[in-house]
């Protein structure tokens, strides 16, 4: 008996009597003697609640990253999260519930996710969205698989300007199925090379996977990509930073067939990488080929509006080896965080946040360039940008870390001197000026 296990010896004995055995050990007789453990597991000694609090405080103190002023992005962003988000997420009713298998007593989760789907679809400019994927990377990989189901073609083209981690995940997901992946190079402006696209797509492709704003923060020409894809019977999968959709056109409106991304910027803490929630939005026509859960609106026997998981015949528990994906548990609570965040910020607040990210990123970029960095690409960016530094990026990183900043990410792919910066609405002018100052100083030190 402990703080989580309620039945004391007396009760347990009564229960064993009802069961018809004498000792607890009798219940383990099906476990072959040979594998039945005799002693205890070799684990660290148990801790009381108080000791555990102290231990976690110690671990938290061994971290320092959270105290740095963050200019790093590349898939995870330091946005402000209104306190109301977590107040909802910590409601027992939401966070301790299981997947809404019994719809009549799960309307809370179901309606919330229905609203999430609506907001994501509107953000992406598509007709529909699913209930969420693990993260942006796996959503991208699943979108590629989905495109192959839709088109029956076994090859995808992936932009060279896609986040390299996403690219790795796509490979992991696609390789065992024997699918082919080809990379579309980017041009000197940092954008997809349209000529290369046209050439590569000749060989037939299920999809073109394009990130916009791309890994370097640059806005791709989605309309053009979509045209090319369409002309070649390929789908266009766009990986989008949801914040950017507050300022730039929705990929769905520009012809993207599937829009995926990570919901982290929408009310989810950076949390060393997870849990986040991938989103996947598409047109109604493709719903039946889509991976993951989807919530639909319906009625109860009295005609009251209600919500259920629908199109389950695509899913693993029904379709088994023919399922559209193996995904079962997803990241529902994080999708709820997205929904709460988007309702709080709302039309005006969300757009203002996106605008501020944009303005601040441009302010920082100009400041860093003035202080000695050089632009790498000329294409317009939203809130992330790559610069060439006057020296080794890792050396700059060290110096800026010591100055209390988490600077941009060194991007060896662009050279030893390249760094990718991200800015959120949370950064103040003061912080940026201080960062530019520290960078300036570092320029004098690194050669």
């Amino acid at each position: 008996m402990n703080r989580f296990v309620p039945n004391c010896r007396t009760l347990r004995d009564r229960m064993l009597t009802e069961i018809g055995v004498k000792r607890v050990e009798d219940l383990f007789t099906p476990v072959p003697e040979k594998v039945r453990m005799r002693g205890l597991l070799n684990l660290p000694p148990a801790m009381s609640e108080m000791e555990l609090v102290r231990e976690y405080a110690r671990l938290a103190k061994s971290n320092t990253s959270h105290e740095l002023v963050c200019f790093r992005g590349a898939g995870s962003y330091d946005h402000f999260i209104p306190a109301a988000v977590d107040s909802i997420l910590t409601r027992s009713e939401f966070f301790t519930a299981y997947t809404p298998y019994q719809a009549e007593v799960s309307q809370g989760t179901l309606q919330a996710i229905f609203e999430y789907q609506t907001m994501i679809a509107r953000l992406c400019g598509t007709e529909a969205a699913n209930a969420g994927m693990y993260d942006g990377a796996s959503a991208t990989a699943e979108a590629a698989l989905m495109a192959m189901r839709v088109t029956g073609v076994n090859r995808v083209l992936v932009a060279g300007s896609l986040n390299p981690s996403y690219r790795e995940v796509i490979e992991t997901y696609l390789v065992p199925g024997g699918f082919q992946i080809n990379e579309i190079p980017f041009g000197p402006d940092g954008l997809l090379d349209p000529g290369a696209v046209r050439t590569l797509i000749q060989g037939g492709a299920a999809a073109m996977v394009v990130q916009s704003p791309n890994y370097f923060g640059l806005v791709e020409n989605i309309a053009l990509a979509s045209e090319t894809a369409r002309a070649n019977n390929a789908l266009l999968v766009v990986v989008a930073d949801p914040i950017s959709l507050g300022v730039i056109q929705a990929p769905g409106a520009l012809g993207a067939d599937i829009v995926v991304g990570d919901g982290q910027p929408l009310g989810i803490p950076m949390g060393f990488g997870g849990p986040y929630a991938g989103f996947l939005a598409t047109s109604t026509a493709h719903l039946r080929k889509m991976p993951g859960r989807i919530i639909g609106r319906t009625e109860d026997r009295a005609g009251n509006t209600g919500y259920v998981m629908t199109l389950q015949t695509r899913e693993q528990h029904i379709r088994r080896e023919k399922a559209t994906s193996n995904i079962c548990t997803n990241q529902a609570l994080m999708a709820l965080a997205n929904a709460v965040y988007l309702s709080l910020t709302g039309e005006a607040g969300f757009r203002e946040i996106a605008r501020q990210c944009h303005h601040k990123a441009h302010y920082l970029e100009a400041g860093l360039v003035k202080a000695g960095a050089r632009r790498i690409f000329s294409a317009p960016f939203v809130r992330e940008f790559a610069l060439r530094l006057p020296g080794d990026a890792f050396e700059f990183e060290d110096r800026l870390l010591s100055a209390g900043f988490l600077p941009g990410l060194p991007v060896p792919g662009l050279g030893n001197d390249a760094m990718l910066f991200a800015v959120t609405e949370k950064r103040t002018r003061e912080e940026m000026d201080a960062f530019i100052g520290a960078f300036s100083k570092a320029c004098g030190e690194v050669r």
């Binding site: 684990l43 309307q107 009625e299």
Partner: protein
């Protein structure tokens, strides 16, 4: 009915307050700029809170009562863990922070991995998989990598009992493998002879849930895993049911080569209405080289995230998995220690057997040839005789204020009712649940309409799933304006 946020939206309302922009504005190029409304709700913070709090009240949850979903291990989620995972020094970390700025988290991940290896009897571990299904994928990819490395690309069959969870076959497909079903014997366990007959040079793996989805521990486990090994295959254990075995038996000791764990089941991390979970994979030395990138290693400078080199089969997530879930699971293990974890398993098994005993005579329990482990499956064939379905029993349970068990799974039991009370339930709450089920069995005979009309005490009546699939309204239509 709770109106949607879109229905209560009203132009100009806002739920946040933002600072003035303190830098000069930079124009967004006209051809890129988004114009027109996005269509996000316009509501105040108070409206948002009221909306979601009211929605929350339309959910069942573990704090309302027993949540006996079989195979789901719905146990109490300790409140402390929620607070710990939110400590800013643990939660506000950029995932691409340099190792030396995240030593605390890396230390915890390393320690958790070590604990999980001890619990499973393995030596290698990845904490990256986001859920059980991704853990399965990881496991099969490890196996695939080992066979490829051994020059046996032809090993692409996965033996799997017909009682397997849906993710098992679905995962096999994703891993480029084909499912070979193996039969269950009339004790509900794997038919050893069938395994022996089906293993061969094309066998990549046997994939087995143990205890299986009937809640039965496969007593022939050593013979089975050995048969697979002898044929050159590897053994994968679906560890979703590990709650039945903590400190009692370890997959690594049973001949398995690899298994995944569901931290959101066995290790008490909350399910969140469907996720997030976490599905770490533990494996033996043979499979370690193929683990996904990155893994946490300990070296002279402390802890580091490190690639496995080019033997790794790849990467599963953009970053390092659901770290927030790991924080909670580690707290659970540290709270209970070895003795506490054993108590968990004993409690779970006693509770399941007690519930089974209480229902004896009221519901048929197929394969009831000895103790079950942490769960068991009852069947509803008698209901069928009354023109009733397991679904009706489930819906009627909602009227009694309980959540229903898992229904229609595993597929090998007709009209299955799969029940897992977990160790955190008291004897009293199991009694109340059993009495409700017994009352429903009586109602089925005497007032069957109570079952077919059910539920009636719920926020909505029985919902029309056919209509949902046919009309397919998956987003709120935009208002015509």
């Amino acid at each position: 009915m709770e109106k949607t946020l879109f229905a209560i939206s009203c132009p100009g309302r806002i739920g946040v307050s933002l600072p003035e922009c303190d830098v000069p504005e930079t124009e967004i190029p006209n051809d890129l700029a988004r114009t027109g409304e996005i269509g996000l709700p316009q509501v105040t913070e108070g409206q948002v809170m009221r909306h979601f709090v009211r929605l929350s009240n339309r959910n069942y949850n573990i704090e309302k009562g027993i949540y006996p979903l079989g195979s789901c291990t719905m146990k109490y989620n300790p409140r402390l863990h929620e607070a710990l995972a939110r400590i800013p020094g643990l939660a506000a970390l950029h995932p691409l922070s340099p190792d030396h700025t995240v030593q605390g988290t890396l230390e915890l991940m390393h320690a958790l991995g070590t604990c999980l290896c001890e619990i499973t009897g393995f030596s290698g571990v990845t904490l990256q998989p986001a859920a059980g299904a991704q853990g399965e994928f990881t496991g099969l990819m490890l196996i695939r990598s080992a066979h490829l490395a051994a020059g046996e690309p032809g090993r692409d069959k996965v033996l799997m009992p017909d009682s397997a969870h849906g993710t098992n076959p679905a995962t096999s497909t994703m891993a480029g493998m084909k499912v070979v079903p193996v039969k269950s014997n009339d004790h509900g366990m794997v038919d050893v002879e069938d395994v022996k007959a089906k293993v061969g040079p094309d066998t990549a793996a046997l994939m087995l849930t143990n205890p299986n989805t009937l809640g039965l521990f496969d007593s022939n486990i050593l013979e089975i895993t050995e048969a697979v090994h002898r044929a050159g295959g590897l053994n994968y254990m679906d560890g979703a049911n590990m709650n039945a075995m903590l400190g009692v038996a370890r997959p690594g000791d049973m001949g398995f080569d690899v298994c995944h764990l569901n931290l959101h089941k066995t290790f008490s991390t909350p399910h969140g209405g469907g996720g997030p979970g976490s599905g770490p994979v533990c494996c033996n030395e043979r499979l370690e080289p193929y683990l996904p990138n990155p893994v946490v290693v300990k070296n002279n400078d402390g802890y580091a995230l490190s690639g496995m080199g080019n033997t790794s089969f790849g990467r599963l997530m953009a970053f390092h998995g659901n770290v927030g879930v790991l924080y909670r699971a580690y707290a659970y293990i540290m709270t209970l220690g070895a003795a506490g974890l054993r108590e968990v398993t004993e409690g779970a098994v006693v509770n399941a057997n007690y519930l089974k005993a209480r229902l004896r005579g009221h519901y048929p329990v197929p394969f009831d040839n000895g103790p079950c482990m942490h769960e068991f499956v009852a069947g509803g064939p008698e209901m069928a005789g009354l023109g009733l379905k397991t679904l009706d029993v489930a819906k009627r349970l909602l009227d009694y204020g309980f959540h229903a068990p898992t229904v229609y799974f595993p597929l090998i039991v007709k009209e299955a009712l799969m029940m897992e009370p977990t160790e955190t339930e008291t004897m009293e709450s199991i009694d109340e649940f059993a009495e409700a089920l017994i009352a429903i069995a009586r109602e089925a005979r005497e007032k069957p309409h109570l079952l077919t009309d059910a539920p009636v005490n719920t926020p909505v009546l029985r919902l029309d799933e056919v209509k949902a699939a046919k009309e397919l309204v998956v987003v709120e239509p935009r208002e015509e304006s």
